[in-house]
C-alpha cells in the first residue's frame, strides 16, 4: 500500500463534495464538473481493480475514520460512476438547474463513501447524507405529490437510522470500537437494531416496501439513480458485514432469497411500467445479497440494466402496460428495453448471464432452487416489456437527434452491459447457456399462457406509511429472535 494510493483515496472521497460546493460558485460549469467527478470515480475503481491487496486505512487515531477498499468496493464504485454518468448525460439537454447537479454529485460522493467505509459511524454519516440528497432530488419537481413521496422517504429512512444508531452504541458498549467486525460478539439486540436499519435503507424484503412508490413516482433520471445505486448503499454494508462476520452470512443469504421471491411476486402483478421496474429492484437486491462473495458483480449488472430501463421507460407515451399493449411504441425505444430486459433475465451475451451464474455458483444448495424460481419469475416480468408491440416509424428528424441525451446515456449503459461480461467468463458453458434459455423460454410461455389472461392484483395497502413503520418493529422482533436463537453471536 503506497502513499500515492492513500492520497488518491482521500482525494477521491472529497472531490465530489468539493465539486458540489464549487458548482455554487460556478453554476455555468455544472454539467461538466459533475461529469468530471464521475470520471474520477471510474479512474479510482480501475486503480482498485489493479490493486492486489485490499487497502486498509486508519485516518487519525484509533477512534478515527477507518476505510477499507478492495475488489468488492471497486465493483460498487464502478456501478455508481457509470449510472451517475449516464444520468448526467441524459439530463444534459433538459435544462435542469445547477441545484439538481449539485445534489447529484453530492449523492454520488456520499454513496462512494459508503462503499469504502469500515466503521459504523462513517457509514451513518454517509447514509444520512444520502437520505438528504435523495430527498432533495425526489422533491426537485416541487409538486405536492413528489414532495409527499420525498417526505415519506425521509421519514422512513430517518427512523431506520435512529434504530441503527441505538444498535451502534450497543456495539460500542461491548467492544469500545465502532468497527464493522465488532458485530462479532455483540449482543443480539445490537445486531437486530443495526440490521433493521440497513435492511430498510437497502430496500430488502418487507422492510423495503417503501421502495416501489418512491422509485416509481420520482422523475425517470432520479428513479434510475435511486434504483441503480442508492439502494446499494444500504445493501453494501450488509454484504461487507456478512463477509467480515461469518455468523451473519446465513442470515444475509436467507434475507436475499426471501427478498428475491417477494420482489418477483410483486413485480408480476403490477401493471404500471415504472412500478414493475421498482418491484424488480426489490427482487434484484435479494440476488445481490444471496451470494455476498460476488455481490459486486451482480450489483454492476443490475445497476446498468436498471438504469437503462428506467431512462427508456420515462420516454414511453404511457406508463400503463395495458395501454402500451394496445398502442405500438417506437422500435428505437423498444430495442434498448429489450436488450436491458434480456440482460436482467440473464440472456447469454449480456452481463446479466454471467452475473446470475456467478451468484448461483456461490450459492448454497438450498438457495439454488429458490433462486431458479426467482430467475424464471424475472424472465416472466421482463417478458412484459419484450413482447410489447412496436413499429418503426420514427419521429421527425431521425431518432438520434430527437433525444441526444437519452442515446448517449443508453450507449454508455448498454455498452457496459456487453463489456462487463469479462467479469466472469467462466459462465459461458453449453450447459449454462441451455439452462438459461430453458428458464427464459419457460418464463415467456407462462407469460403468454397465464399472466396475460388473468388480472390478479395485490393491494397496495401494505405500503401505507404506518405499515412501513410498523414493519420495522416486526422485523426488529424477528431479527432479535433469529440472532438470539440461531446465531448465538
Amino acid at each position: 500500500m503506497g502513499v500515492p494510493m492513500i492520497a488518491f483515496t482521500v482525494l477521491w472521497v472529497t472531490v465530489p463534495f468539493l465539486l458540489g460546493f464549487g458548482i455554487y460558485l460556478l453554476p455555468r460549469g455544472d454539467r461538466l464538473l459533475t461529469l468530471g467527478g464521475t470520471l474520477v470515480s471510474i479512474a479510482y475503481a480501475t486503480t482498485l481493480f489493479l490493486q492486489a491487496a485490499p487497502l486498509d486505512l486508519h485516518l487519525l487515531d484509533s477512534f478515527g475514520v477507518t476505510l477499507l477498499a478492495d475488489n468488492l468496493s471497486a465493483w460498487f464504485i464502478l456501478t455508481n460512476a457509470l449510472v451517475t454518468a449516464a444520468v448526467i448525460l441524459y439530463c444534459w439537454e433538459t435544462g435542469k438547474s445547477a441545484f439538481f447537479y449539485i445534489q447529484v454529485i453530492i449523492l454520488h460522493g456520499s454513496i462512494n463513501a459508503t462503499f469504502v467505509c469500515a466503521d459504523f459511524i462513517s457509514l451513518y454519516v454517509a447514509l444520512e447524507v444520502i437520505g438528504i440528497a435523495a430527498f432533495l432530488l425526489i422533491a426537485y419537481p416541487r409538486g405536492d405529490r413528489s414532495l409527499w413521496v420525498a417526505l415519506r422517504y425521509l421519514f422512513v429512512s430517518n427512523t431506520a437510522m435512529l434504530f441503527y444508531l441505538v444498535g451502534v452504541i450497543l456495539v460500542y458498549q461491548t467492544h469500545t470500537s465502532f468497527a464493522f467486525s465488532g458485530l462479532h460478539g455483540a449482543p443480539p439486540e445490537a445486531l437486530a437494531l443495526i440490521l433493521v436499519g440497513l435492511l430498510t435503507k437497502g430496500g430488502v424484503f418487507v422492510s423495503g416496501l417503501w421502495l416501489p412508490l418512491t422509485h416509481s413516482e420520482a422523475e425517470s433520471p432520479v428513479s434510475a439513480l435511486l434504483s441503480g445505486v442508492v439502494v446499494k448503499a444500504g445493501v453494501f454494508p450488509l454484504v461487507r458485514c456478512a463477509l467480515l462476520v461469518e455468523e451473519l452470512d446465513p442470515l444475509v443469504r436467507l434475507f436475499g432469497v426471501a427478498a428475491a421471491l417477494l420482489g418477483v411476486v410483486y413485480a408480476l402483478v403490477e401493471t404500471d411500467a415504472k412500478r414493475v421496474l421498482a418491484c424488480s429492484t426489490l427482487s434484484q437486491m435479494g440476488w445481490v445479497l444471496a451470494a455476498p462473495e460476488v455481490a459486486g458483480f451482480y450489483a454492476l449488472a443490475h445497476g446498468l440494466a436498471k438504469g437503462a430501463l428506467f431512462l427508456t421507460v420515462g420516454n414511453l407515451p404511457s406508463r400503463d402496460l395495458r395501454v402500451l399493449r394496445q398502442q405500438p411504441i417506437y422500435t428505437s425505444l423498444w430495442l434498448p428495453l429489450t436488450v436491458a430486459g434480456l440482460s436482467m433475465s440473464g440472456f447469454p451475451g449480456l452481463v446479466g448471464f454471467a452475473a446470475k451464474f456467478s451468484t448461483l455458483k456461490h450459492a448454497f444448495p438450498w438457495q439454488v432452487i429458490a433462486l431458479n424460481v426467482a430467475a424464471t419469475g424475472t424472465a416472466l416480468v421482463y417478458a412484459k416489456f419484450i413482447f410489447l408491440p412496436h413499429q418503426s416509424n420514427q419521429p421527425r428528424g431521425g431518432w438520434a437527434s430527437a433525444k441526444p441525451g437519452l442515446w448517449m446515456a443508453l450507449t454508455l449503459l448498454i455498452g457496459g452491459l456487453v463489456v462487463a461480461n469479462i467479469g466472469f467468463l467462466g459462465a459461458y458453458t453449453w450447459g449454462n447457456g441451455l439452462k438459461v434459455l430453458a428458464i427464459i423460454a419457460g418464463g415467456w410461455l407462462i407469460n403468454e399462457g397465464v399472466i396475460q389472461r388473468t388480472g390478479f392484483s395485490l393491494s397496495q395497502s401494505l405500503e401505507a406509511f404506518e405499515h412501513l413503520i410498523g414493519f420495522m418493529s416486526l422485523m426488529l422482533i424477528v431479527l432479535f429472535w433469529m440472532g438470539w436463537s440461531w446465531l448465538a453471536i
Binding site: I121, R145, I169
Partner: protein, 111 residues
C-alpha cells in the same frame, strides 16, 4: 433506572410515530425518539464516570468516555437539519392539505 427511562423515551417516540395522525405530530414524535437515542449515547459515555476528560494535574479517574459524546454531536446536527428540512416540506404541503392528516394525504396522492 436511567436506562429504562431512556429506552422508554425511544419507544414512546416510536409509538407516536405510528399512532399520531398529524404529520407535524409525527415529526415531533421523531424528535422525541432521537432525543432518546442521544440520551442513550450520553448514558453509555458516562458508564465509567461523569468527569469531563481534560488533561490536568489531577489524578485521572472517573472520566466520561469522550468518544460517544463526540459522535453523537454529529448525529444531533444531522437530526436537526433533517427535521428542519421536513418542516419546510410540511409547510409547503400544508397549503393544499391544511389538516395535514396523513390518511387524507396518502389517499390523495395514491396513483
Amino acid at each position: 433506572m436511567l436506562h429504562a427511562c431512556v429506552y422508554a423515551t425511544i419507544l414512546l417516540g416510536f409509538f407516536g410515530l405510528i399512532f399520531k395522525e398529524n404529520l407535524v405530530m409525527k415529526i415531533i414524535a421523531m424528535d422525541v425518539m432521537s432525543t432518546g437515542v442521544i440520551a442513550l449515547f450520553v448514558l453509555v459515555a458516562a458508564r465509567e464516570g461523569i468527569r469531563t476528560p481534560i488533561v490536568s494535574v489531577m489524578t485521572p479517574r472517573n472520566f466520561a468516555d469522550p468518544v460517544p459524546q463526540a459522535v453523537i454531536l454529529t448525529a444531533i446536527v444531522i437530526g436537526f437539519s433533517i427535521q428542519a428540512l421536513m418542516l419546510v416540506g410540511v409547510m409547503k404541503l400544508a397549503r393544499d392539505n391544511p389538516t395535514l392528516e396523513i390518511r387524507e394525504i396518502e389517499k390523495g396522492y395514491r396513483p
